[in-house]
Amino acid sequence: MSRVPDAALDVAARNPDALGAGRWEGVCRIHDLTPDRGVAALVDGVPVAVFLLSGGELLAIDDLDPFSGASVLSRGIVGDVAGEPTVASPVYKQRFLLRTGRCIEDPSVSVVTWPVRVRGGRVEVAVP
C-alpha cells in the first residue's frame, strides 16, 4: 500500500521531489494481478515487478534480477521468511525481501523498491 497520504498527491504531481515519490503512473487493473504472483510493468521505461500478496498488500521492486541480469523477478515464487514476504528469482533462486529489496542470500545486494497503490481499481506506481 502507498505510504503517501492522498491529500499530498497534487503536490507530489507538481513537485516530484516533495515526498520522495513523484508522479503516479497507472500500470494495470487490480484484477490483472494474481494473489502471490507478480507482473512486470514498464514505469518510466524501467521494468518494475509488482506483487499482490494474498493478504491484499501491494509491493513493487525492480524487475531486473541483479544476479542474472535478466528482467524476471516478477516471475519468481512469492513466499515468506519468518513472516517477511519474499520473492525468489526464477533464475538462480536468490530471495529478495519484498518490503526492503534486500537479498537474503547476499545482504550486500539489494534491488530498488517502488511505492505502489490502488486508485479506483487501478494499480499505480510512483515515478521517482
Binding site: 497507472g26 500500470v27 494495470c28 490483472d32 494474481t34 494473489p35 502471490d36 504472483r37 507482473v39 512486470a40 510493468a41 514498464l42 521494468p47 509488482v50 500478496l53 494474498s54 542474472s68 541480469g69 535478466a70 528482467s71 524476471v72 516471475r75 519468481g76 515464487i77 512469492v78 513466499g79 515468506d80 521468511v81 519468518a82 513472516g83 514476504p85 519474499t86 525468489a88 526464477p90 533464475v91 533462486k93 530471495r95
Partner: protein
Amino acid sequence: MAPTIVVVGHGMVGHRFLEEAVARGLHETHRIVVLAEERRAAYDRVHLSSFFDGASTEDLALSPDEWFLDHGIELALGEPATELLVHERTIVTAAGRRIPYDACVLASGSSAFVPPIDGHDAAGCFVYRTLDDLEAIRAWASGASAGVVVGGGLLGLEAANAVRLLGLRTSVVEMAPRLMAVQLDDGGGRALRGHVDALGIEVHTGVAVAGVATTPDGRVAGLRLGGGEDAAERTLPAELVVFAAGIRPRDQLARVADLPVGERGGVVIDDRCATAAPGVYAIGEVACHSGRVYGLVAPGQVMAEVVADQIAGGGLTFAGADLSTRLKLLGVEVASVGNPHAEGHEIVVSDPLVGTWKRAVLDDEHRLVGAVLVGDAAPFGHLVSALRTGTAVTDALAMLSPPPVGGAAGPMADEASVCSCHNVCAGTIRGAVDDGHEEVPAVKACTKAGTGCGSCVPILQELIDEQLAASGRAVVRHLCPHFAMSRAELFDVVSVTGIRTFRELVERHGTGRGCEICKPAVASMFASLASGYILDGEQASLQDTNDHFLANLQRDGTYSVIPRIPGGEITPEKLIVIGEVARDFDLYTKITGGQRIDLLGARVDDLPAIWARLVAAGFESGHAYGKALRTVKSCVGTVWCRYGVQDSVQLAVDLELRYRGLRSPHKLKMAVSGCARECAEAQGKDVGVIATERGWNLYVGGNGGMRPAHAQLLAEDLDTETLVRSIDRYLMWYIRTADRLERTATWQRKLPGGIDQVRRVVMDDALGIGADLEADMARHVESYECEWTATLNDAERLSRFRSIVNDPEGAPLPTRVEIRGQRVPE
C-alpha cells in the same frame, strides 16, 4: 625456544596427526614442521580413483591452505627428509636443512611394490599411488588402446577400473587363484569376478608375470605371462602397464638409523607408537605393530591420535586393529570381517544370478570368527558387532540377510563398528545424536564417521533415525520452514484429507505463506493426485516460472519450447513444421540429449502463437519444464534393425503416451532398447526396458546427471501387460514416498532393502498396495490433457502470457549475436 615436532611425510595419516595435535593445542606449545616429499599438501588417497570420475585435486585436498597458516604449522612441500640422526635428535632435509626435534613422527607411508622383472621400468609402466601417478597415467593413456594391471587385489582392481574409465581395453593379471585373495574366500572371489567380467575387464588369475615386452625404442608393447596354472608363455598386447601388486613401507630413514624394522619391513613400534629411538614415533603404513603393517587408513588414524596424545602427555595406546573392512569396488560392495579364511561351521547365502556371496564361519561355541560379503554388505555392521562381542550367534541366516528395517538381527551393539575408515562405533554415533546432532552432516562433523570412503553414510542415517525414535524425538526431515514434515508425509496428508488448495494446506498443516520450496512441491502433489490443469485458480501462484509459462526459462529471460516427440519418432511433415516455426519466430534449434528438438529464445509473449502453430500440426507439450515424464528414448528395434528382437519403438511410444504429463518428485526418463546391444541406453534411465527373445527385461533406478547410476534389474522376460503394470506400480510408489527433488536412483538407494524391497513391493505386492497404485495411475492416464492445448483454448489462461502488463508489445528480445548460422544470447 618452543620444543619442535617434525613430521616426516604429509599423507593421510600425517595430516590426521596434525589435526589431532591441533585439537590438543600442541600447535600453541610447539613449533610443528612438516616435511613433505610430494609437491601437494595431503589429499584423500583413499578416494584417489575419483580423480578419473572428474574429482579435481582441490576436491581431494584434506585441508585448505589457510589451515596451516592459521595454526602456525610449517609445511615444507617438495622437501623430503633424507636423514634421521637419532643421537643428535636432528632431521636432515633434501634442501640441506638440519632441524633439531624434540619429537619426530615418521609418517612416510609406503610405496608401490614393482616386481624386478624385465622391462619393469619401460616407458609406459606406472604405479598407482599418488596424484602425480594418476596424471602420468592419464597423459600416457591418451595414446594407448589397451592397458594391463598387475595385481588383482583392492588396488589392482581400482587401477583397472581407472584404466577402463580412460577408455582402454583393460586386463588384470593376478598370481593368486582368485581376486582379492587376502580379503576374500573362493566363493567371494568368484562373485566379485562375475561383476568385474560384466564391466568388460579381462581377468587372468593364477598366472605369473614373466616380463614387460618392449618396442625397440623402449616403450611398453605388452605383458609377458608365463608359469602358474597355464604354463605356456604368451603376451598380452598393451601400451600401458600398471603395477599394483602390493606395497612396501618407506622405512629407509629408520633402516639407515639402525632402528629395528619388521620382517617384511615397517618401523617397529610399541603400543605408544614409539620406536626404539627416544622421541621418534612411527604411524600409518610405515609402522609395524606386533609384527603387522596395516595397509588401510583406519589403523593409521588411530596411531596418529595415540601419538598426539602421547606428546601432549596423555596415556592413549594402540592395541592393534581388527582388519574388518567394507569397501565399494567398481560399484560392488565387498566386505570382510575377522578372519575370512577361518575354518569352522560355514553358513553361506549366495545368489549367483545377482552376484552375491555371503559366508560366515562360526566356531564350535557358535561364535563368529570370520565372514566374507560380496555384492551386499548390509550385514557388515551386525557381523562386526557379533565378532567384537563374541556372543553365540543364534540365527546366522538372519544375520547374513538382515530384514530391511529393525527386525530379527536386532539393533547394533554400541561397540559395533559403523565407519571402518575412521573407527567409529555405533555407540559414538548414538552419543552424538543424544548431544543434539540430529542430521547426517552434523554427526559427520563431530564424529568424522562417513567422511572417509562414505560407504557407511546410509548406516549413519539409520542409526540417527533409530536413536531419535528411541529417545522419543520425532524423526522428521522437514520439507521447508513452512511444513514440519517430509514430502512423503505431506503427500499422505494431501492424499488423505483431500485438501486441494495450498492456502488450506498451509493454514491447517503448516505456517506462513509458503516459499519457493514447498509451493512447487505441493503443486506437484496436487497434479499427481488430481491431474487437473496445473495453472488454474490458486495453483498458478505455486508453480515456478517454467511450469507457469509451460516453457523453460533461459539465462536471458527468454524461454525454450520442446514439443513431445514420443519415442523420438517423427514424420517429415512434423519436422518441416518445427523448422518453419523456428524460422518464423527466430528460434535457435538444437537436437536434445533426449531425442527431441529444442527451440530456444522465445519471448513469453510469443509462446501462445508458437504453440498454436505446433498444436495445429499435432504436437503436444513435451513437459521439458516440469518435474514430470520427459522422454522415452527408443532405438529402431525390429522395424529396421537386423538385431532387434521386439518392437522397441512401439513400446516406447506407448509408454510415453501413457505416462506423459505425470508429475513426480523429480523428472522421469525412460528408454526402450530392441535388444541387449542397448542402443537406447535404457540402463541409464529411471525406467529402462530391454527386449529379450521372450519379452522385456525391466530395469529401474538409473540416472545420468551428476552421480550416474546404473539401473538395477527388477524383473525379466515380462509380457507387455505385466511390464506396464509393474512400471505403473513402481512410478506411483516412488511418487508417493520419495523426497522432493529426489530422483529414483537416490530414492532406491536410500530405500531400506534397496532393489529387493522394490521387487517385493512392485512384483510380489508384499504391502498389498499394488491395486491402489495401479488405480492412481489409471486416474492419471484417463485425465491427461495436453497443457498447451488446454491453454490455447482458454482466453483467461492465455492472458497470462504477457511479459509487460502495460505494454501490449511486450519486452523486446534481449540482444542477440550470431554463431554457426543461428542467433543466440550475447
